[in-house]
Symmetry: C2
Subunit: 197 residues, 2 copies
């Protein structure tokens, strides 16, 4: 049926709104719900409402958290702060099991085209955190594009007078990639930052 | 975080249970929920519960329906019945805009390996429907595999004594495909069923 019965159609539309989901995938998801138990559907629905209701921003780092303070801020070294643009960047960074510091989520970056200035992202919170906790190093892990670079530079300028070490994730060729297919900007960066072996 | 905060983790697990969804996709879906409004999350949850609660099987064809009778059975010619294995097959068939008949969902096929016999699928319902409605033609649209074929043959044998025309979807090479890559069984079928041009 190109037009489904109403409750199915509505569910398909909600699934379609998920990132990267097209009509056919949304249909499969909806049929999965209908073909499974009532319990499962109700628990799924509850999980959605719960996640939205119970998850708030960690009062320190701004990451999504079930409590006032997130698990990372609770347990790890607050003297080393890694600054990221979005909570999902933390997911990626945490794959590096050796990092023992905490994070700071900016929720975006300085982007004049989107009318986002320094006051629209969580820079003030970062500065007061650095002062309050005696932070030793701030690692800038904003995206390696124009806006991310500019944001990193802007924040570095504010932090340096406070006597904090500010670093930036190294840029270069990706592990396992082919030099043949690397773009020129990446290669230039990699050449500039070359290290003795 | 390889281990997410509890409400996020639970939501990710529910999304992961959807067909074809891996860890990363489930994370993206969960973040989407958290990043959007509370209203949207609640409506999404409601749509899931509603779909499961309100959708039942059409009393005639067995397709998912919001009412006692599905939209297709309500409006279309009940003298031509297309027999399919699953409700999702109807979605595919309905892309053919010219079909004016109704459907009959078997919910599976005869499959000895899965311990599914003729009494485990909706064959009885089909027979009584054929009798009751004076059906003129039954089109077998079960899958073109061993079990689907066997089911179609079995049902055809039951229907023919009732004086109904029983047909099967044509089998052959797909439109737009390459003969070079067609498998031998398909080619053999296509050769056997060749038509004068």
């Amino acid at each position: 049926m190109s037009d489904f019965e109403e409750p199915i159609q509505r569910l398909i539309e909600y699934f379609r709104a998920l990132p990267g989901v097209g009509q056919k995938t949304a249909q499969r998801y909806a049929f999965y719900i209908i073909e499974n138990s009532k319990d499962k559907a109700e628990n799924f629905a509850k999980a959605i409402v719960d996640a939205k209701q119970k998850v708030r921003l960690c009062r320190e780092c701004g990451n999504y958290s079930a409590g006032d303070l997130c698990k990372i801020c609770e347990r790890r070294n607050p003297k080393i702060v890694c600054v990221v643009q979005e909570p999902k960047d933390i997911v990626a960074m945490e794959k590096v099991k050796t990092f023992e510091g905490v994070y700071h989520v900016l929720f975006g970056c300085i982007n004049p085209l989107e009318n986002k200035g320094p006051n629209d992202i969580r820079i003030k919170e970062l500065l007061s955190r650095v002062q309050k906790n005696g932070v030793q190093e701030v690692i800038m892990a904003t995206n390696p594009d124009v806006e991310g670079e500019a944001t990193a530079m802007y924040i570095a300028k504010l932090l340096k007078p406070m006597g904090v070490k500010v670093t930036r994730l190294a840029q270069g060729i990706s592990i396992g990639s082919d030099i043949e297919f690397a773009d020129e900007v990446t290669l230039e960066k990699a050449l500039k930052s070359r290290q003795e072996i």
